[in-house]
């Protein structure tokens, strides 16, 4: 019998063990499960302050079966650089040094360390699980919150930001691998991490990670919400890299149909699931649509 990708994922074993203190329906634990399956045991996770700092379990327990080094909010990219360089000079080249953090820690407060490590092309992974707000501290808006979403610091959903195009910004650093992913597409995520693993240099992966308490939807619907993000064109799955003076982007299979706007489901389908968009105004919807167009327009010139 031919081995499928699912067989491989099952055989890879589990590094996220029972006993996390995550919320029911957590997108991040789901994503971490597939990330670690792809990376294997020869992995170090550097975790800045985020939900994962808490859900990895409480001392003296750990529900994650790889080395975890917990670090301060704005330090992860630099700590990982230090670990990698130390392992290198000590003669241990084959270790995956991986920053695993949320959008607050990587898109906002720790952005300088992410950008610095990328610019130096450190041989590390930085993987952001983007739940689109500071969820661990209780749903405050971040630089990755979509326009008009209600958070505890934007309680009326007034439009503040435009959601930083983080994966694209990272691609502009001229690094060898950037990918976007989504917890609703685990095989796509798994394969992207595997591909990154083969690449020497800086790897950035940005995972959309639906969050039931933060986005205010039923905790059984994480995969549905994630899928709708792709089907409405809100979240684009792609891989990109820099080579010989040029940037290239390729759309990942689940997102390919939605390059044609007419094929996308109406954005309202994605929004209506979520309490954070309740009472969403026409202006807000317009702004989100504009943001979606902007994301597609950003990558369009680089699509193969």
């Amino acid at each position: 019998m031919v081995k499928t990708i699912m067989d491989e994922i099952i055989e890879a074993g589990d590094y996220v063990l029972p006993g996390t203190t995550a919320c029911p329906g957590c997108g991040s634990t789901l994503a971490l499960r597939y990330v670690l399956k792809a990376l294997g045991k020869n992995t170090v996770l550097v975790i800045p302050a985020c939900c994962s700092s808490v859900y990895q379990a409480i001392y003296p327990n750990s529900a994650i079966n790889v080395i975890i080094y917990n670090v301060a909010f704005a330090s992860a990219g630099a700590v990982a650089s230090g670990i990698k360089q130390a392992l290198d000079i000590k003669g241990y080249q084959d270790v995956n040094v991986v920053v695993w953090g949320g959008d607050g820690g990587l898109v906002d407060i720790g952005f300088a360390t992410v950008s610095g490590a990328a610019e130096r092309n450190e041989d590390i992974f930085i993987i952001c699980y983007d739940n689109e707000a500071y969820m661990n501290t209780g749903i405050q808006r971040s630089g990755s919150t979509p326009p008009g979403a209600k958070t505890t610091t934007t309680p009326l959903g007034k439009i503040v930001g435009f959601k930083k195009p983080m994966p694209f910004l990272m691609l502009l650093h001229g690094i060898p691998y950037v990918a976007t992913a989504n917890v609703a597409y685990p095989t796509d995520l798994y394969e992207k991490v595997k591909r990154g693993k083969e690449i020497n240099g800086f790897k950035y992966i940005h995972i959309l990670s639906p969050c039931p308490p933060g986005w205010r939807y039923d905790d059984s619907k994480t995969v549905e919400v994630g899928k709708l993000a792709v089907e409405t064109g809100y979240w684009i799955l792609w891989e990109g890299y820099y080579k010989e003076g040029k940037i290239r982007i390729s759309l990942s299979p689940p997102s390919r149909p939605y390059r044609t706007p007419a094929k996308r489901k109406p954005i309202e389908e994605f929004l209506k699931y979520q309490g954070r968009f309740k009472g969403f105004t026409e202006t807000s919807i317009k702004r989100v649509k504009e943001w979606i167009d902007y994301q597609w327009n950003l990558i369009e010139p680089f699509l193969q």
Partner: protein, 376 residues
């Protein structure tokens, strides 16, 4: 081969790191520190040092990367000054909590505004409660030697805390003095390679473990208590390191403190850094004038040499503390420590605070003489 050179305090610091065979250096430029890491990066680039140099994007990242390297089992070094030190403050506390024996050279510099690049001790003293050991060098030779000693102390299995070696901006950092650059094999015999006695962040040699995850107050208090114990342990380790250093190299900078002109002294002047060296010179001069002054250099500010200071206080009738720093609304920081020690040891010798040299204002011999004559 042993050699003599006339070099600045900053090059002495670089030599200290080189002779200590540091493996990872992470640094960011700031005046007056910059020439330390410029020299190190030159040696790394030319292959004269087998080390990794990470030119990071901020001091916060310099400390983060140094800490990460140390956690992975490498000997790590960085250097900074003033605003750089304060910018990395969060990671200074984190590196101590993480028990990573990073050594950092800190070139003392005043804080802005207004901009000022000259010497003041307040920057380093603001980090006194973070769990770092602090060595205060008085001359360029002591800068070099203290870095080697700092690794020896920081990496001791009874200590495992980071350590700073401070030197005054320009007064030492950019002033050339004769310095002995030791033979590598002698340094190696004093400072063996770093061999962490615990799991390191390296899955090739350690089992999966989690460092620093959330814990409840009753466990947290134990973790913090272990830092206090390590700090207390470091007292004997510092003394032993100073003694062995003397055996190998033939001279000593003192251990926690160093006293000069002790005979029949009735007034002690206590100071730190390059100021202490000046105090020593002035005390010799004053002795010729018949004033029985003893000069006391506090070489290690953390752990604070309580017993030594109490013994000095018991042996004199007055103490003058010269602080090149100020804690606003309180006192000179060194002086307030001396006063607290005297209270703890029930000694009632009067202590006089003299704050001078703020923001690089020259401390001239006559200023110290005046301070003495004010209270003598």
């Amino acid at each position: 081969m042993k050699r003599y050179d006339v070099i600045t305090g900053n090059y002495s610091a670089a030599w200290g790191a080189r002779l200590s065979k540091v493996e990872v250096i992470a640094a960011y430029p700031i005046t007056p520190q910059t020439t330390i890491v410029e020299k190190l990066s030159e040696w790394v680039d030319k292959g004269e040092m087998k080390a990794k140099f990470i030119a990071v994007e901020s001091e916060h990242s310099a400390m983060s990367a140094a800490m990460g390297a140390s956690a992975a089992g490498a000997r790590a070094f960085t250097a900074t000054s003033s605003h750089g030190l304060l910018y990395m403050y969060e990671m200074i506390a984190w590196a101590a909590g993480a028990r990573t024996p990073v050594v950092m050279a800190v070139v003392n510099r005043a804080l802005g505004p207004p901009w000022n690049i000259w010497s003041e001790h307040t920057d380093v003293l603001m980090t006194r409660d973070t769990g770092w050991i602090q060595f205060w060098a008085s001359n360029n030779q002591e800068v070099l030697d203290s870095i080697i000693q700092a690794y020896r102390v920081a990496e001791d299995k009874h200590v495992l805390l980071p350590a700073m070696v401070t030197l005054e901006g320009f007064v030492l950092s950019h002033t050339a003095m004769p310095v002995t650059i030791h033979e590598q094999d002698k340094v190696d015999s004093f400072l063996p390679p770093y061999n962490p006695p615990h799991y390191v962040v390296n899955p090739m040699i350690s089992e999966p473990f989690t460092y620093g995850n959330i814990l409840f107050p009753w466990d947290y208090a134990k973790v913090r208590m272990s830092i206090e114990r390590a700090m207390i342990n470091s007292i004997d380790v510092i003394k032993k390191a100073a003694k062995e250093f003397e055996e190998i190299f033939g001279y000593s900078h003192g251990a926690l403190i160093k006293e000069e002109n002790v005979e029949n002294a009735d007034v002690a002047i206590i100071a730190m850094g390059a100021v202490a060296e000046e105090v020593e010179a002035v005390s010799e001069q004053l002795r010729k004038d018949g004033l029985k002054i003893k000069a006391v250099k506090v070489r290690v500010f953390r752990p604070f040499p309580k017993r030594e200071i109490a013994e000095i206080a018991n042996s004199v009738s007055k103490i003058i503390v010269i602080d090149r720093d100020i804690s606003f609304g309180w006192d000179g920081i060194l002086a307030s420590h001396v006063k607290a020690v005297l209270h703890e040891y029930k000694v009632d010798t009067p202590v006089f605070t003299k704050i001078m040299g703020i923001g690089g204002d020259d401390i001239l011999p006559e200023h110290i003489v005046k301070a003495v004559k004010d209270v003598y």
